[in-house]
């Protein structure tokens, strides 16, 4: 039964692509993925618990990955899932747990005056403007491909690889340097400041120091977080 369904769907898709019209499967996939993306995004914004927000974010990222696949960009979809959903969100969760900022936030209150209405108005305006612009102006110039056409029969990975390692080699190297810098920066930011070392740690036994006196608190001091 599943095989039959699968076959019907494949046939339908083939027929549709052959004639150049969007197939039902494509549309369905798109609608579902879009729904996932949008609901995840709204979830990120409205969830009170930050852990919930993180999980909603994962949902969004998966939806985006599906959309990438729809556009025949498998490699990036995989990378998206692995890097974004797999690494970055995990990092978020680590920090949330580590710092204990998982306290729920009072969404209803808004200390800054006028922020909320203005935000709503502006975002609405922005989206409207953006969509209008999309309708009205020519956003694509139809320029010839610069870095290589996507039409070729080689796989997406091969195309990307060729492009990154030849045309865009320099940015690639710079980005790797950037990663190193980021790591160094993160380590520097996150480490605790060293303990303060004061002179009385040295033992100068010349009889002048009165060792019967109690040690002062200055001797051993640590910066408390």
């Amino acid at each position: 039964m599943a095989v039959v369904m699968h076959g019907v769907l494949l046939a339908a898709t083939a027929a549709a692509t052959a004639t150049g019209h969007a197939s039902l499967v494509d549309w369905g996939t798109f609608v579902v993925a879009a729904a996932i993306v949008l609901s995840g995004a709204i979830g990120v914004v409205v969830a009170r618990n930050p852990v919930h927000s993180a999980l909603m974010l994962v949902m969004t990222l998966f939806g985006i990955a599906v959309l990438f696949v729809l556009q025949r960009d498998d490699f990036l979809a995989a990378v998206q899932v692995i890097v974004y959903a797999g690494a970055i969100v995990v990092l978020f969760l680590f920090v949330i747990m580590f710092l204990g900022v998982d306290r729920e936030e009072n969404i209803a209150a808004e200390p800054l005056r006028g922020q909320r209405p203005l935000a709503v108005a502006l975002v609405a305006l922005g989206v409207t403007g953006l969509l209008l612009l999309g309708e009205v102006s020519k956003w694509t110039t139809g320029a010839l491909s610069v870095a290589g056409s996507t039409d070729s029969s080689t796989s997406n990975v091969a195309q990307l690889g060729t492009s990154v390692y030849t045309t865009y080699l320099f940015p690639f190297e710079v980005t790797s340097a950037l990663l190193v810098i980021a790591v160094v920066g993160a380590v520097a930011l996150a480490r605790r400041p060293p303990a303060v070392v004061t002179a009385p740690d040295l033992d100068l036994d010349d009889g002048l120091v009165d060792e019967s006196a109690p040690a002062t608190d200055d001797a051993h001091q640590e910066v408390t977080p």
């Binding site: 709503v120 139809g142 045309t167």
Partner: protein
């Protein structure tokens, strides 16, 4: 987008993807402006970045140019680096006060 002709985006014309990306971006921006929890604000930034990535890939297909996908590649890398450093800063600041929000830091008030 009257110039978009052949759509190889799974045979769905690119405009739909672009519209979706626009809305996603708007939601992310809205979230950034509304939420006070620093980490949630960060996540909204990630949403915006993803919207941009989607746009890039869409155009890569509309224009038959692999450059768009290469850009997404790099955006991903840089976003990762950015998150690392950003969270490092968050950790450094929030070490002292666990329940601080973005509104608690207004030392730069003119």
């Amino acid at each position: 987008m009257t110039g978009a002709t052949s759509a190889l985006n799974g045979n769905i014309s690119g405009e739909w993807y672009l519209a979706l990306a626009a809305v996603l971006f708007a939601i992310g921006a809205f979230g950034l402006l509304i939420r006070r929890n620093v980490l949630v604000m960060f996540m909204c930034v990630e949403l915006m970045l993803n919207a941009a990535n989607l746009t890039f890939v869409t155009f890569a297909n509309m224009l038959h140019d692999i450059g768009g996908q290469v850009l997404v590649f790099f955006v991903l890398v840089v976003a990762a680096a950015e998150v690392v450093v950003g969270l490092g800063i968050v950790v450094a600041i929030f070490r002292r006060r666990a329940n601080a929000t973005a509104d608690d830091f207004h030392l730069m008030k003119g």
